[in-house]
């Protein structure tokens, strides 16, 4: 009979080696408030962004909304060709962020944003008014269903790289 030694602890040594190697690798934790990963280009984030100039007040978005969430009131303005949007309200507390309003908009006037910190202290604060949604320079617009926006957005990151980690303050 041939003697075979299998359980003398080489597995233990191997395991210890693996955890020791972990000491030399950089840590995968993203320290969230200080460090942020960049989200997907087509991220369907909180809040809608509304382009006032392009919107004709056709209310297709309101019709397409599964939740019946979008309230739009228009009036006939001085310009014969265009309605004036008087009220445009979305309750994001009820929104499921399906993006159908964005997809249905015939004039590409509605966008989803890349914002993801959406907690508020009051439910009422979740209701976005016309002025809050209006597209401005600082608003981050998502590339969802808007390929022309998508091309200009940064690549999504899943982990912080070693270099990026070194340049940032990790703790205070």
């Amino acid at each position: 009979m041939k003697l075979k030694f299998e359980h003398y602890g080489k597995g233990l040594a191997k395991g210890l080696g693996v955890t020791f190697q972990h000491l030399l690798r950089h840590r995968i934790t993203t320290q969230y408030p200080e460090q942020r990963l960049s989200v997907s280009k087509r991220f369907r984030g909180y809040e809608l962004v509304w382009d006032k100039e392009r919107c004709t007040g056709c209310a297709t978005c309101a019709k397409s909304c599964l939740q019946g969430n979008i309230e739009i009131v228009t009036s006939r303005g001085e310009d014969e060709n265009k309605y004036v949007v008087e009220k445009f309200e979305v309750d994001t507390g009820r929104c499921i962020f399906c993006g159908l309003c964005v997809e249905s908009c015939p004039y590409d006037a509605l966008f989803l944003s890349r914002e993801y910190e959406c907690s508020t202290y009051r439910r009422g604060e979740l209701v976005l008014s016309r002025d809050q949604m209006e597209r401005t320079e600082e608003k981050q617009v998502s590339g969802y269903f808007r390929p022309e926006v998508e091309t200009g957005l940064p690549e999504q990151t899943l982990l912080l790289d070693k270099a990026g980690r070194k340049t940032q303050q990790l703790w205070q």
Binding site: L3, F5, E6, H7, Y8, G9, L12, G15, L16, V18, T19, F20, H22, L23, R25, R27, I28, T29, Q31, L170, W171
Partner: protein, 363 residues
């Protein structure tokens, strides 16, 4: 030798050094909690606590405040008196161990016991009484299972632990901790590698850490014996666990790493002692973070089929060496001992099966 004993009065000496030992134990435990939680981070590719204070140094303080402010809940059907006493009984023996640990040349802080290590062995096993009281008094099946497991593990691992200590005692020829530190020029972890291995494994089992944390196996019995404890009482168990780890590291440093001996030991002997204790503790963290928990039958099998025979053989070999060299073992024997340890571990590994009787599937 007398400079650390400034008091002629017995009560003054007792009072002052009791406070010193208490402060050392509590501060050491808090430091160890921080070191372990922080040390787990890099091993698991994460950060560890780093929010409270610089480098998360205040995390144990935050934990302590949180746990002190928590409501103390006692189950209606619990044995109230035993439930109350259990944390005290569990924590007190841990504190008592530090009385004889030699921090510096010459003596332990409180007494200079000539049977120091015997005292340590006797006292350190008392903590399990508190654990069993907690398990019984909580009137909860999980806590009772956890407590019963602790008794089983304690009885099994006490023997290899003591046998490995006896090897060291044989060479140095004394039970006094201080005499053991001065027992041989070579640290005992080199001179008796097998003894150190057995001591480390048994000590980790004894303090219920790492792969041997059967008493609170989260995935099986939720939190084991302290499942019904909260607030201050839970904190006592938590302190006892880490205090025991601190005590065992300190004893390992004393027995096998020559305690306070090092360059400049007359002045910074305490520092050497603490550094060695910390090294042992980091080794324990490394083992804990690497290995998965043993099943209860594997735990028993490991103690009785592997550690116990090996400890006996180790004792026999050391005894033979002590007699053969007339008490003065030459330095080159450590190579022989390393070779013998390797062979014994290899042979000993054949003595027990993995899987505990389950059929192994051949792929």
């Amino acid at each position: 030798m007398t400079q650390l004993y400034p008091f002629d009065n017995y009560w003054a000496h007792f009072g002052v050094f009791t406070v010193v030992v208490l402060v050392f134990a509590l501060a050491g435990v808090m430091a160890f909690i921080y070191v372990e939680r922080r040390g787990f981070g890099p091993f698991q590719l994460r950060m560890g606590p780093n929010r409270a204070g610089p480098f998360g140094l205040l995390q144990p303080v935050a934990d302590a405040i949180k746990v002190l402010l928590k409501e103390d809940i006692v189950p209606t059907v619990a044995d109230k008196v035993v439930h109350f006493l259990a944390p005290v009984v569990g924590f007190l023996p841990v504190l008592l161990i530090f009385a004889v640990v030699p921090f510096h040349e010459g003596h332990g802080l409180l007494p200079d016991l000539n049977v120091g290590i015997l005292y340590v062995v006797a006292i350190s096993s008392l903590g399990v009484v508190g654990v069993f009281m907690a398990g019984w008094a909580s009137n909860n099946k999980y806590s009772l299972i956890g407590a019963v497991r602790v008794i089983a593990a304690m009885v099994s691992y006490e023997m290899p632990l003591v046998l490995s200590i006896i090897g060291v005692v044989l060479i140095s020829g004394s039970l006094s901790m201080n005499a053991i530190v001065n027992g041989h020029d070579i640290p005992f972890f080199l001179l008796t590698p097998l003894g150190f291995l057995i001591f480390l494994v048994s000590a980790m089992a004894e303090i219920n850490r790492g792969p041997f944390d059967m008493l609170e196996a989260d995935s099986e019995i939720v939190a084991g014996f302290h499942i019904e404890y909260s607030g201050m009482k839970f904190a006592m168990f938590y302190l006892a666990e880490y205090g025991h780890a601190l005590a065992m590291s300190a004893i390992a440093a004393t027995l096998f790493f020559r305690g306070w001996v090092g360059p400049g030991a007359e002045y910074i002997g305490v520092l050497w002692f603490m550094v060695k204790t910390l090294i042992i503790f980091v080794l324990m963290i490394w083992l804990r973070v690497t290995f998965p928990r043993l099943r209860i039958d594997q735990l028993m099998g490991f103690a009785w089929k592997f550690l116990f025979p090996l400890a006996l053989i180790n004792l026999l070999i050391i005894g033979g060496e002590v007699v053969g060299f007339d008490g003065d073992i030459p330095w080159w024997m450590l190579f022989v001992n390393f070779a013998v340890a390797g062979v014994l571990v290899l042979v000993g590994s054949k003595s027990y099966r993995l899987g505990g009787g389950r059929v192994e599937v051949k792929v």
